[in-house]
């Protein structure tokens, strides 16, 4: 096993004394990550565990806070045959857990440009042109089961197919675009992109704040110029 780095480098360099840390921490657990057996405190995430054990980890690491969607892992828990998907930075170690990191998510085949949608009457037609598979959803629930944010993905796809874009988009507030639902979907619907499309058309066509519009209008007339030497 390679030399261990101190916990000080993992997140908080204030912790300079590993032994003190270990007294503070619970029993170590044994897990297997990318085929390597690792003993580490259960309060660490799978990414931190690799670093703690001295293994390199660069790919799939991002925000470390569960919002960038980079750290995709497959997890099998002890005494279970089920493999689940999760975010590595958000998954704390459990005894006997097996973890494999996934890298380089495949991009979606759907492309669109908001500016090519002539007006809000055409959004639904355009949606079905851009995402022709959405109507084929067979409610298999694969997307919902795979989502680490517990988003009602399937319901979102159904709403979008019916042209209820604002409601659909609301379901995807916490989506981190990890692409798990996309991988899980047997119909190649790219449900997360359906969700994001729904959110984007809502803003693009319907966010018209009068306070902002007024301000822009006044400024366009040349008013409210900043005087640089006034202070």
């Amino acid at each position: 096993m390679p030399k261990r780095v101190g916990l000080e480098y993992i997140n908080n360099p204030q912790f300079t004394n590993i032994d003190a840390m270990e007294n503070l921490i619970e029993q170590l657990v044994t897990v297997t990550i990318n085929g390597k057996e690792i003993k580490a405190p259960p309060s660490l995430s799978t990414i931190q565990a690799l670093w703690y054990a001295g293994y390199p980890r660069v790919q799939s690491v991002g925000c470390l806070e569960g919002v960038c969607g980079s750290c995709r892992i497959l997890v099998r828990r002890a005494e279970s045959t089920e493999v689940t998907m999760a975010l590595g930075c958000q998954t704390l170690l459990e005894e006997g857990m097996e973890v494999n990191f996934l890298v380089f998510p495949t991009p979606t085949h759907h492309t669109y440009n908001l500016e090519e949608i002539p007006n809000s009457w055409e959004v639904q037609t355009e949606f079905h042109r851009i995402f022709p598979e959405a109507v084929n959803c067979r409610s298999c629930n694969g997307c919902n089961k795979s989502c680490p944010k517990d988003i009602q993905v399937k319901e979102g796809v159904a709403l979008a197919s019916k042209g209820k874009f604002q409601e659909a988009g609301e379901l995807f507030v916490e989506c981190v675009m990890c692409n798990f639902c996309m991988t899980a979907c047997p119909e190649y619907i790219s449900p997360n992109h359906v969700g994001l499309f729904s959110r984007r058309v809502t803003a693009y066509f319907h966010t018209r704040p009068s306070n902002l519009i007024n301000r822009l209008e006044v400024m366009r007339k040349g008013e409210l110029k900043i005087e640089i030497d006034q202070d």
Partner: protein
């Protein structure tokens, strides 16, 4: 002596009212005595480069004056691409610059370190500043920004940013970004610490996530060529010293590649993962200050390299989440900070440097709350807020509620332990109002740039600055760089760098840019042997 976490929790009582703090020190005295920028030995004097003689944090100075990662030998046989505008860094600033440049008709290549959108931008919570309320003006925005930065910012940059702000919000909406709206469809605004008006537009406490996923989708649906997992390791220049491209290391194929470009826009973000003064950080994994190092070597002048922002409310407990950011929005909403005696000790809405220094003062003087041997902090009194505004936390701060869950803490009944966390680089590459650095052909936008925030930034001005100057640089780079490619392109500047380092008797062991935090062990990762060949060869011949 500080009391323990458990004791402090037992002593703690949620109260609706608490007396305001009585502060005895002026802001200036407080900063001088307690702000980490003023720690003894924090700063050193730069020995080589365009800022020779200037003060700089010593950890950053080590990187700016480090040896390069590559030399000519690495480039033999390297694949070469050609583009009009090369953008380095795929956060908010980089995506905005790329989108605008591409729209203006330029061929654009965007190279980013890891996944597109893995950035500080995606993590932003609080919101983005723009004066859109009736009783607010761009002038007030300008004034507040200058004042918060202790009148140290470049006035022209601040004025450009404050007057662009409403248009920036509109541009974001046109990309498909949502904002929280009131029942009339108006943009809702909240107030940042140290400002005179409600000026922060936001989307829940997911402003950055919403911004980043929209910009990423926009970029992916454009004709911009995206090279992900491709950190830049060096810039290239032509015979007259004009920036003419960059060398990237392709982490998928483990090879170096040359990208020739008529203009380069650096948008690599901040330095949190350098862990200055051993502070925890709120920043993402890739925030290692690479852009500063690249630009400095090519001769770009820097500003305020000894000035950093420590955000007052980083999580201090539990340890595996230490450093995680708690949005300032929660203090804007009226949450108090309390010491171990249950007293307020600072006006929570003062500027960040003031509030952080006040927290450090409490902890130094024994009124902090201690966990185990190391972590100390003060209380963020969310239960008090819940008493004053029932339901507000759950409704407006879903991300914070999530964080509470991860800590096993119910925010409505139990306070969080907080301690300042290294958050933002106030200074950076000196730019003009088009984002152009002092090196021709080289633009720097976003957190990597300096001069916009002076010596302290207010919440919401960073998200504004990255889009404002990202767009400006994208437009300018596309417009002014249509001339055909350069004759001769090289990494010649490294010869003079090495000469200067040797002459100044600087140690040459350290290599820059840093690329990844130490814990990730990039240098030892056998997956990347292809990128370490040259280093290995050098080691074996000496």
């Amino acid at each position: 002596m500080s009391i323990t976490y458990q004791e402090a929790l037992n002593n703690y009582q949620p109260l609706e009212r608490r007396e305001p703090a009585v502060e005895t020190l002026s802001t200036e005295e407080l900063l001088q005595q307690y702000h980490p920028d003023h720690y003894k030995d924090a700063a050193t004097t730069l020995q080589v480069g365009p800022n020779r003689g200037d003060q700089c944090h010593h950890q950053l100075a080590d990187m700016l004056q480090a040896d390069a990662r590559i030399d000519e030998a690495d480039l033999a046989g390297a694949r070469t691409r050609q583009t009009d505008v090369l953008v380095i860094g795929g956060g908010g600033a980089g995506c905005a610059a790329a989108l605008v440049a591409a729209k203006a008709g330029a061929r654009v290549t965007l190279a980013t370190k890891l996944r597109l959108g893995d950035s500080n931008t995606v993590m932003a919570e609080g919101g983005i500043q723009a004066s859109v309320e009736k009783d607010d003006t761009p002038q007030a925005h300008y004034q507040d920004t200058l004042k918060a930065g202790h009148f140290h910012a470049d006035k022209e940059l601040v004025a450009s940013m404050a007057s662009d702000a409403p248009e920036v919000i509109r541009w974001l909406i046109q990309q498909g970004m949502q904002f929280d709206l009131d029942k009339f469809g108006d943009i809702m605004l909240r107030r940042a610490g140290g400002t005179t008006a409600d000026r922060i537009a936001y989307y829940r406490d997911y402003t950055g996530l919403e911004m980043m996923r929209v910009l990423r989708e926009s970029v992916k649906n454009s004709n911009i060529e995206v090279l992900d997992y491709s950190p830049a390791v060096e810039l290239m220049s032509n015979q007259s010293g004009r920036c003419a491209g960059a060398v990237i290391s392709n982490l998928k194929e483990c090879t170096f590649e040359l990208i020739k470009a008529n203009a380069v826009i650096i948008a690599t973000g901040g330095i949190g993962r350098m862990h200055l003064n051993d502070f925890p950080t709120s920043n993402h994994f890739g925030a290692t200050g690479d852009g500063l190092v690249l630009a400095y070597r090519l001769g770009a002048k820097m500003l305020d390299l000894d000035s950093f922002q420590y955000h007052p409310t980083g999580l201090a407990h539990p340890h595996h989440l230490a450093g995680s950011l708690i949005t300032e929005g929660i203090r804007s909403a009226g949450t108090y900070l309390l010491n171990s005696e249950g007293n307020r000790f600072v006006d929570e809405l003062k500027t960040r440097d003031h509030v952080s220094s006040a927290i450090l003062k409490e902890c130094t003087e024994g009124r902090g709350i201690q966990v185990g041997d190391q972590a100390t902090g003060v209380w963020l009194d969310t239960p008090g807020l819940e008493l004053r505004n029932p339901g507000l936390i759950a409704q407006k701060f879903p991300k914070l509620v999530q964080l509470g869950k991860k800590c096993d803490i119910d925010l409505t009944t139990t306070p969080l332990l907080v301690y300042p966390t290294l958050h933002y680089q106030n200074g950076g590459v000196q730019i003009d109002k088009n984002g152009l650095s002092t090196v021709p052909g080289l633009y720097c936008v976003g957190e990597v740039s300096g001069g916009i925030h002076g010596r302290n930034r207010i919440m919401g001005n960073a998200l504004l600055d990255i889009i404002c100057f990202g767009r400006r640089a994208g437009a300018h780079a596309a417009e002014c760089n249509r001339r055909p490619g350069h004759k001769k392109i090289s990494i010649e500047h490294l010869s003079s760098l090495r000469r200067n380092l040797t002459m100044a008797k600087m140690p040459m062991e350290q290599k820059g840019p840093m690329l990844f935090p130490e814990c990730a062990k990039f240098e030892d990762d056998s997956d990347y042997d292809g990128l370490h060949k040259n280093r290995n060869r050098k080691i074996s011949t000496t």
